[in-house]
């Protein structure tokens, strides 16, 4: 049986919603809230890292090939990276 991350039915809820597994917040993918996602045009990116600095979720990282990407499990689609990216390398597109 596939292990579930949290209860499905009301009677599976632990009393008081007490969570005994430490540091499990990472299992909650807040990226599911987003309505838009950032797309990088690597030809315009000058690798300044402004997107990495401004991301309020801390979910943007630089890859080995120097390009930047957001971890979509945690990106809420706020668009701050696209707003701050002065070379205009980031575009927000609708989740579909």
């Amino acid at each position: 049986m596939k292990k579930r991350k949290w209860p499905e039915a009301w009677h599976e809820v632990s009393p008081g919603c007490v969570v005994f597994a430490p540091a499990n917040a990472r299992e909650y993918h807040t990226g599911s809230w987003k309505a838009q996602r950032p797309i990088w045009d690597d030809s315009k990116c000058i690798q300044c890292g402004v997107c990495y600095i401004f991301c309020p979720e801390g979910c943007i990282t630089q890859n080995e090939d120097k390009t930047f990407r957001a971890d979509l499990d945690y990106c809420k689609g706020c668009g701050i990276c696209a707003h701050e990216c002065w070379p205009g390398a980031i575009t927000m597109i609708e989740e579909g």
């Binding site: 039915a9 009393p15 919603c17 969570v19």
Partner: protein, 391 residues
């Protein structure tokens, strides 16, 4: 051996807490609860019990403080009245959601405004939907017994919910009554140390007061509702155990001469005793009157109430609070809702009585019943009346 003493009820309630092996209390004094706060702090300061008494700066802090302490696994107590309870309101549903067995005494007092320190139930009624077990005491003995029982009920592994004991301000808190204190050894046997479901200890990490969005919140609320409804089984068991050990019986709905009554009065809290005398007088006059007293307000005792009123033709429900612009007093509203599906149900009069300490004499209860019997169905011209209001 149990001992019988004459004692002010607020002092007695604090003495009862002192018998419960509490670890800490945080109580902010407010009239008419102050003597509970003062006396409990004395019990701690005199070293009679090994507990902390935290002198908080407000009722919001008092309830927050005992909530945090309860989360660590401590047995805790707080008490308040009126505006203090209103200030606690923000925290009350969190305590029940976290399933923490906080026990609270409420010395019932009218809420402002206008400012009034005397007794009615307008403080507890707005707190109805917080997920707490809500119990009413009728006299000092019950205030003592229910306080001790509340720890056992609240902490039971099948319950794990906060519990409040309502003690009418002044009418009870400031009366000197004969009270039988149970033997400490017997109380220790009845109420062993708390075994918490979870504690805040680094050896066994736990997150409490967690976050729940729309994907799970609905299920969490259903679980909380089921927990509160289910607590009645344990409440009944604890009351049965209390009766066996200490000889005094507690039921969710108490009745007095109700079995063969054509007309019933319904009260909650201290006015039940005055109403009993009124029932005696009515019986002497040949009126087949009886009394129904709701002790357990949450979880609401639907079955017991239906059973208690099923033979009566008229039910006079008294309320000590107003639901302004609503269908009547909060008690009558719930009683009517509980009886809606019954094939045979009594005519219901709703009298709002005794607001802000307005005295209710035996003769007032006699008059309410006699007027209802005289008028029958034709007498119910309004959903509710303010009994004895001038003008």
């Amino acid at each position: 051996m149990a001992k019988r003493v004459g004692m002010e009820v607020a002092i007695a309630a604090a003495e009862a807490v002192g018998m419960c092996n509490i670890d800490m209390a945080a109580v902010y004094p407010i009239t008419p609860q102050s003597h509970i706060a003062e006396h409990l702090s004395e019990i701690v300061a005199d070293g009679r019990i090994d507990a902390e008494f935290v002198t908080v700066e407000s009722e919001h802090s008092a309830i927050s403080c005992v909530t945090g302490a309860s989360a660590t696994g401590a047995r805790v107590y707080t008490a308040t009245s009126s505006q203090g309870l209103m200030l606690m309101h923000e925290i009350l549903p969190i305590v029940s959601a976290m399933r923490l067995p906080v026990v609270m005494g409420i010395a019932n007092r009218a809420v402002s405004g206008p400012l009034n320190i005397l007794n009615d139930h307008s403080d507890i009624m707005p707190q109805r939907d917080n997920g707490w077990i809500v119990i009413f005491s009728e006299n000092g003995q019950e205030a003592v017994d229910l306080t001790i029982q509340s720890f056992k009920i609240a902490e039971h592994p099948d319950v794990m919910l906060p519990c409040c004991v309502n003690i009418d301000g002044f009418q009870l808190t400031h009366m000197v009554e004969p009270i039988e204190f149970p033997d400490q050894k017997q109380v220790n046997k009845f109420l062993p140390p708390r075994k918490p479901y979870a504690t805040l200890h680094p050896d066994k990490p736990a997150s409490m007061g967690t976050f729940a969005m729309s994907d799970i919140f609905h299920e969490v609320m259903k679980a909380k509702d089921e927990a509160l409804k289910d607590s009645k089984k344990t409440i009944l068991k604890v009351w049965a155990e209390w009766e066996k050990m200490f000889g005094r019986r507690y039921r969710p709905v108490e009745t007095y001469l109700a079995d063969d009554a054509d007309v019933l009065l319904l009260t909650m809290g201290s006015m039940g005793e005055t109403a009993e005398i009124a029932i005696n007088e009515l019986r002497e006059k040949g009126v087949a009157a009886g009394l129904v007293k709701i002790r357990l307000w949450r979880p609401f005792p639907f079955d017991e109430l239906k059973q208690a009123v099923k033979k009566a033709g008229i039910l006079v429900v008294t309320d000590r609070a107003v639901s302004f612009g609503g269908p009547g007093g909060p008690v009558a509203g719930e009683v009517k809702a509980a009886l809606y599906d019954e094939k045979k149900r009594p005519l219901i009069y709703n009298q709002i009585i005794g607001l802000g300490g307005r005295d209710m004499a035996v003769s007032d209860f006699v008059k309410m019943v006699e007027d209802a019997v005289k008028a029958g169905a034709k007498g119910i011209t309004k959903d509710y009346e303010f009994y004895g209001v001038r003008g």
